[in-house]
Amino acid sequence: MWFEWKIDFEGQKQAELISQVGIILFAAIGFIAGFLLQNLILAFQIFGGGIFLTSLFVLPPWSFYNQHPVQWLPPIQIEKDKPEQEEVDELKEKST
Protein backbone atom coordinates (compact mmCIF):
# COMPACT_ATOMS: atom_id res chain seq x y z
CA MET A 1 0.00 0.00 0.00
CA TRP A 2 1.20 3.52 -0.63
CA PHE A 3 0.83 4.57 2.99
CA GLU A 4 2.99 1.77 4.33
CA TRP A 5 6.18 3.46 3.13
CA LYS A 6 8.03 0.23 2.57
CA ILE A 7 11.78 0.02 2.15
CA ASP A 8 13.96 -2.96 1.22
CA PHE A 9 16.29 -4.85 3.58
CA GLU A 10 19.47 -2.98 2.72
CA GLY A 11 17.53 0.23 3.24
CA GLN A 12 16.35 -1.00 6.62
CA LYS A 13 19.93 -1.53 7.72
CA GLN A 14 20.83 1.96 6.60
CA ALA A 15 17.75 3.45 8.28
CA GLU A 16 18.57 1.72 11.58
CA LEU A 17 22.17 2.94 11.50
CA ILE A 18 21.20 6.52 10.63
CA SER A 19 18.52 6.68 13.31
CA GLN A 20 20.75 5.31 16.09
CA VAL A 21 23.74 7.50 15.22
CA GLY A 22 21.56 10.57 14.77
CA ILE A 23 19.67 10.25 18.05
CA ILE A 24 22.79 9.57 20.12
CA LEU A 25 24.64 12.40 18.40
CA PHE A 26 21.92 14.93 19.17
CA ALA A 27 21.73 13.72 22.78
CA ALA A 28 25.48 14.27 23.13
CA ILE A 29 25.35 17.70 21.47
CA GLY A 30 22.40 18.66 23.65
CA PHE A 31 24.17 17.60 26.83
CA ILE A 32 27.40 19.42 25.98
CA ALA A 33 25.61 22.60 24.89
CA GLY A 34 23.38 22.59 27.95
CA PHE A 35 26.29 21.93 30.30
CA LEU A 36 28.46 24.69 28.85
CA LEU A 37 25.67 27.25 28.75
CA GLN A 38 24.17 25.98 32.03
CA ASN A 39 20.71 25.76 30.48
CA LEU A 40 18.71 22.57 31.06
CA ILE A 41 15.85 23.46 28.71
CA LEU A 42 18.29 24.04 25.85
CA ALA A 43 19.67 20.52 26.23
CA PHE A 44 16.23 19.01 25.81
CA GLN A 45 15.28 21.35 23.01
CA ILE A 46 18.34 20.25 21.04
CA PHE A 47 17.57 16.60 21.78
CA GLY A 48 13.92 16.96 20.78
CA GLY A 49 14.82 18.82 17.61
CA GLY A 50 17.33 16.10 16.84
CA ILE A 51 14.70 13.38 17.16
CA PHE A 52 12.46 15.32 14.78
CA LEU A 53 15.26 15.80 12.24
CA THR A 54 16.23 12.13 12.41
CA SER A 55 12.63 11.15 11.86
CA LEU A 56 12.53 13.28 8.72
CA PHE A 57 15.56 11.38 7.50
CA VAL A 58 14.41 7.89 8.40
CA LEU A 59 10.62 7.62 8.33
CA PRO A 60 9.75 8.55 4.73
CA PRO A 61 10.69 5.98 2.03
CA TRP A 62 13.46 7.96 0.36
CA SER A 63 14.76 6.54 -2.89
CA PHE A 64 18.17 5.68 -1.47
CA TYR A 65 16.45 3.18 0.82
CA ASN A 66 15.05 1.31 -2.15
CA GLN A 67 18.23 0.78 -4.13
CA HIS A 68 18.45 -2.94 -3.42
CA PRO A 69 15.04 -4.48 -4.03
CA VAL A 70 14.54 -8.13 -3.13
CA GLN A 71 15.34 -10.45 -6.03
CA TRP A 72 12.47 -12.94 -6.07
CA LEU A 73 13.12 -16.29 -7.79
CA PRO A 74 11.05 -17.04 -10.91
CA PRO A 75 7.89 -19.06 -10.16
CA ILE A 76 8.11 -22.87 -10.62
CA GLN A 77 5.30 -25.17 -11.70
CA ILE A 78 4.17 -27.77 -9.15
CA GLU A 79 3.21 -31.15 -10.78
CA LYS A 80 0.27 -32.91 -9.14
CA ASP A 81 1.52 -36.39 -8.03
CA LYS A 82 -1.13 -38.99 -7.16
CA PRO A 83 0.70 -40.37 -3.98
CA GLU A 84 1.07 -36.88 -2.64
CA GLN A 85 -2.60 -36.14 -3.22
CA GLU A 86 -3.63 -39.34 -1.35
CA GLU A 87 -1.45 -38.35 1.66
CA VAL A 88 -3.11 -34.97 1.74
CA ASP A 89 -6.59 -36.58 1.68
CA GLU A 90 -5.65 -38.93 4.56
CA LEU A 91 -4.42 -36.04 6.68
CA LYS A 92 -7.63 -34.14 6.04
CA GLU A 93 -9.72 -37.13 7.14
CA LYS A 94 -7.75 -37.48 10.39
CA SER A 95 -8.07 -33.81 11.35
CA THR A 96 -11.85 -33.53 10.82
Binding site: A15, E16, I23, F31, Q38
Partner: protein
Protein backbone atom coordinates in the same frame (compact mmCIF):
# COMPACT_ATOMS: atom_id res chain seq x y z
CA UNK B 1 11.56 -1.73 9.95
CA UNK B 2 9.95 -2.48 6.64
CA UNK B 3 7.06 -0.05 6.98
CA UNK B 4 6.34 3.31 8.59
CA UNK B 5 4.77 1.93 11.77
CA UNK B 6 7.76 -0.29 12.49
CA UNK B 7 10.30 2.45 11.91
CA UNK B 8 8.34 4.97 13.98
CA UNK B 9 8.07 2.50 16.86
CA UNK B 10 11.77 1.65 16.70
CA UNK B 11 12.83 5.29 16.66
CA UNK B 12 10.51 6.19 19.53
CA UNK B 13 11.69 3.33 21.74
CA UNK B 14 15.34 4.08 21.07
CA UNK B 15 14.82 7.79 21.68
CA UNK B 16 13.25 7.05 25.06
CA UNK B 17 16.21 4.91 26.09
CA UNK B 18 18.67 7.61 25.01
CA UNK B 19 16.54 10.16 26.88
CA UNK B 20 17.04 8.22 30.10
CA UNK B 21 20.74 8.04 29.36
CA UNK B 22 20.78 11.82 28.98
CA UNK B 23 19.04 12.26 32.35
CA UNK B 24 21.59 9.91 33.94
CA UNK B 25 24.43 11.93 32.43
CA UNK B 26 22.96 15.13 33.82
CA UNK B 27 22.50 13.57 37.26
CA UNK B 28 26.05 12.23 37.47
CA UNK B 29 27.68 15.33 36.05
CA UNK B 30 25.94 17.43 38.70
CA UNK B 31 27.94 15.65 41.40
CA UNK B 32 31.10 17.29 40.09
CA UNK B 33 29.92 20.89 39.90
CA UNK B 34 31.68 22.97 42.56
CA UNK B 35 30.01 25.68 44.54
CA UNK B 36 30.98 28.21 47.16
CA UNK B 37 28.11 29.36 49.33
CA UNK B 38 28.99 32.02 51.90
CA UNK B 39 26.96 33.69 54.58
CA UNK B 40 26.76 34.83 58.18
CA UNK B 41 24.21 35.50 60.83
CA UNK B 42 24.55 38.51 63.15
CA UNK B 43 22.61 38.34 66.34
CA UNK B 44 21.35 41.79 67.24
CA UNK B 45 19.19 41.00 70.25
CA UNK B 46 18.56 37.94 72.30
CA UNK B 47 16.01 38.05 75.11
CA UNK B 48 14.81 35.27 77.33
CA UNK B 49 11.37 35.37 78.85
CA UNK B 50 9.67 32.96 81.21
CA UNK B 51 6.27 31.52 80.40
CA UNK B 52 4.20 28.75 81.86
CA UNK B 53 4.41 25.90 79.35
CA UNK B 54 3.03 22.49 80.19
CA UNK B 55 2.66 23.58 83.83
CA UNK B 56 6.37 24.30 84.06
CA UNK B 57 8.10 27.64 84.04
CA UNK B 58 9.93 27.50 80.69
CA UNK B 59 12.51 29.80 79.18
CA UNK B 60 11.57 31.10 75.72
CA UNK B 61 14.26 32.85 73.71
CA UNK B 62 13.44 35.67 71.31
CA UNK B 63 16.07 36.59 68.82
CA UNK B 64 16.52 39.36 66.33
CA UNK B 65 19.19 38.84 63.72
CA UNK B 66 20.62 40.03 60.43
CA UNK B 67 21.12 37.35 57.80
CA UNK B 68 23.57 38.01 55.00
CA UNK B 69 24.26 35.21 52.52
CA UNK B 70 25.26 34.67 48.91
CA UNK B 71 24.05 31.29 47.62
CA UNK B 72 24.18 32.05 43.89
CA UNK B 73 27.04 29.63 43.28
CA UNK B 74 24.73 26.76 44.23
CA UNK B 75 22.47 27.52 41.25
CA UNK B 76 23.59 25.40 38.29
CA UNK B 77 21.57 24.11 35.35
CA UNK B 78 20.26 21.23 37.42
CA UNK B 79 19.10 23.24 40.45
CA UNK B 80 15.36 23.37 40.88
CA UNK B 81 15.23 25.12 44.24
CA UNK B 82 17.13 25.66 47.47
CA UNK B 83 15.81 25.29 50.98
CA UNK B 84 17.72 27.51 53.43
CA UNK B 85 17.40 27.51 57.19
CA UNK B 86 19.10 29.32 60.05
CA UNK B 87 19.69 26.85 62.86
CA UNK B 88 20.84 27.57 66.40
CA UNK B 89 23.06 24.81 67.76
CA UNK B 90 24.18 24.46 71.37
CA UNK B 91 25.18 21.90 73.97
CA UNK B 92 23.64 21.41 77.38
CA UNK B 93 24.53 19.18 80.31
CA UNK B 94 21.77 16.71 79.56
CA UNK B 95 21.95 16.72 75.73
CA UNK B 96 25.03 16.82 73.57
CA UNK B 97 23.57 18.52 70.50
CA UNK B 98 20.50 20.69 70.36
CA UNK B 99 19.32 22.28 67.15
CA UNK B 100 16.50 24.78 66.74
CA UNK B 101 15.39 26.12 63.36
CA UNK B 102 14.87 29.85 63.68
CA UNK B 103 14.15 30.94 60.12
CA UNK B 104 13.77 29.26 56.75
CA UNK B 105 13.17 30.16 53.14
CA UNK B 106 12.72 28.52 49.75
CA UNK B 107 14.75 30.04 46.91
CA UNK B 108 13.67 29.25 43.37
CA UNK B 109 15.92 31.34 41.17
CA UNK B 110 19.48 32.56 41.06
CA UNK B 111 18.42 36.19 41.44
CA UNK B 112 16.70 35.46 44.74
CA UNK B 113 19.77 33.72 46.11
CA UNK B 114 21.24 36.91 47.58
CA UNK B 115 19.81 36.80 51.08
CA UNK B 116 19.90 40.10 52.90
CA UNK B 117 17.38 40.09 55.69
CA UNK B 118 17.60 42.67 58.47
CA UNK B 119 15.99 42.46 61.88
CA UNK B 120 14.59 39.00 61.34
CA UNK B 121 12.77 37.40 64.26
CA UNK B 122 12.63 33.69 64.87
CA UNK B 123 9.66 32.07 63.13
CA UNK B 124 9.44 29.15 65.53
CA UNK B 125 9.59 28.93 69.28
CA UNK B 126 13.15 29.00 70.51
CA UNK B 127 12.90 26.61 73.45
CA UNK B 128 15.01 23.89 74.91
CA UNK B 129 13.75 20.38 75.50
CA UNK B 130 14.27 21.00 79.23
CA UNK B 131 12.49 23.96 80.84
CA UNK B 132 15.68 25.97 81.28
CA UNK B 133 18.43 26.74 78.82
CA UNK B 134 21.10 27.27 81.41
CA UNK B 135 24.18 29.28 80.51
CA UNK B 136 24.69 28.03 76.99
CA UNK B 137 26.61 29.34 74.03
CA UNK B 138 24.89 28.92 70.68
CA UNK B 139 26.23 28.80 67.14
CA UNK B 140 24.00 30.14 64.41
CA UNK B 141 24.63 28.21 61.18
CA UNK B 142 23.00 28.40 57.77
CA UNK B 143 21.92 25.02 56.42
CA UNK B 144 21.08 24.65 52.74
CA UNK B 145 19.39 21.81 50.83
CA UNK B 146 19.60 21.65 47.08
CA UNK B 147 16.77 20.02 45.14
CA UNK B 148 17.86 19.17 41.57
CA UNK B 149 15.71 18.65 38.50
CA UNK B 150 17.21 15.18 38.12
CA UNK B 151 19.75 13.51 40.34
CA UNK B 152 20.94 13.44 43.92
CA UNK B 153 19.86 15.69 46.79
CA UNK B 154 22.71 17.77 48.13
CA UNK B 155 22.98 19.63 51.39
CA UNK B 156 25.54 21.59 53.29
CA UNK B 157 26.17 23.93 56.15
CA UNK B 158 27.79 27.32 56.43
CA UNK B 159 29.51 27.46 59.80
CA UNK B 160 29.81 30.68 61.71
CA UNK B 161 33.02 31.91 63.18
CA UNK B 162 31.69 33.11 66.52
CA UNK B 163 29.12 31.99 69.00
CA UNK B 164 26.85 33.94 71.32
CA UNK B 165 26.14 33.33 74.96
CA UNK B 166 22.62 33.31 76.24
CA UNK B 167 21.79 36.03 78.73
CA UNK B 168 19.99 35.39 81.98
CA UNK B 169 16.22 35.38 81.80
CA UNK B 170 14.66 38.84 81.75
CA UNK B 171 11.48 39.08 83.69
CA UNK B 172 8.51 37.12 84.60
CA UNK B 173 5.77 37.41 82.04
Amino acid sequence: MYNLAQRANAIFAFAMTVHFGLLLAIAISSLYITSNPIGKVDVKELNIWLYNYDNKETEFAFIEMNIDADLTSLFNWNTKQLFVAVVAEYETKSHELNQVVLWDSIIQSKEDAHIKEDKVRNENEFVDITPKFGEVKANYSIYWDLMPYVGYLMSGKIEPDQSFSFPAPNNYN
